[in-house]
Symmetry: C2
Subunit: 150 residues, 2 copies
Amino acid sequence: MVAALVRSTFLVNAVYAESAREHGLTPQQGQLLCVLMAQPYGMSELGAMLGLAKSSLTGLVDRTERNGLVRRESDPRDTRAVRVALTPQGGGLAGEFYAETCRRVERLSAGLDIAEQGALADLLGRIVLDNEVPVVFMEPEEGAPTARRH
Amino acid sequence: MVAALVRSTFLVNAVYAESAREHGLTPQQGQLLCVLMAQPYGMSELGAMLGLAKSSLTGLVDRTERNGLVRRESDPRDTRAVRVALTPQGGGLAGEFYAETCRRVERLSAGLDIAEQGALADLLGRIVLDNEVPVVFMEPEEGAPTARRH
DNA sequence: CCTGGTAGTTCGCCTCGCGAATTATATGGG
DNA sequence: CCCATATAATTCGCGAGGCGAACTACCAGG
């Protein structure tokens, strides 16, 4: 089991990275865009979600901002804080990247029938829930009652 | 399904990276050690297996060698070539890292019963097989199916 | 106020990954 | 036998990514 999980991880990683590359993104920048599709977040929140140190986040947002995909907005409630939001361009790219990545990941399981895909989704979904994985790649609103807000 | 797969990928990644870190390894160096547990390989073979460009491999092996975990041996059959092998120290560390990582990944699925773990292993195993084997179906470029070059 | 916590940034250091150019060796055809 | 070409690795320069420590600016509670 472990081996299959780890190997599928490398497989999905490779697919994710390639999809990002073809959209002119690094995997990290792609991940950032996907997280921000839901809503803007502060730097600290992003750091927690992506599992990065604050200083790493600063650099990532810097580079992504330099590419025009993301914008730092000042938080009216707290002068210190910053809200990172998608620019229109970033939003468009995020949508395309997300959709294309989904298509490719879906293609990986083309050898499974519908029931098996459902079973896989259920099992992995439970692992993800049990381990409290941050929402780095959200569900587009399929039937999974995975209501977890922050 | 896609979302659960992607999110579990990030989860396993994080576990892998943390296990590596606690063994004094980067994830890449850990991966290199794990590959070499089976047998020594040439640089080109390693590049294909890990999905890295030659120049990236040189650096990775340099750093890992500098840490005393790996050794370049000259190939008697081909003076140009090099065989990368684990040092005794590297072999020991590889074993520990591998075992500990397995333990942690296993722990991720602690919420599933034995039958469910079996089902998950089966489904993921099929995905891995379906997508990793087909060296067959490839023609447009020089690219291999699982190791993507450009 | 001032004091302690919080939000982000900056800095220096390293790892990683790539492509292009380079070196050295193999090998096959003429 | 020799040269042309292919192959195995390395080197170089560049940029992305990640970290911890130190720093700045601001919030809040007393």
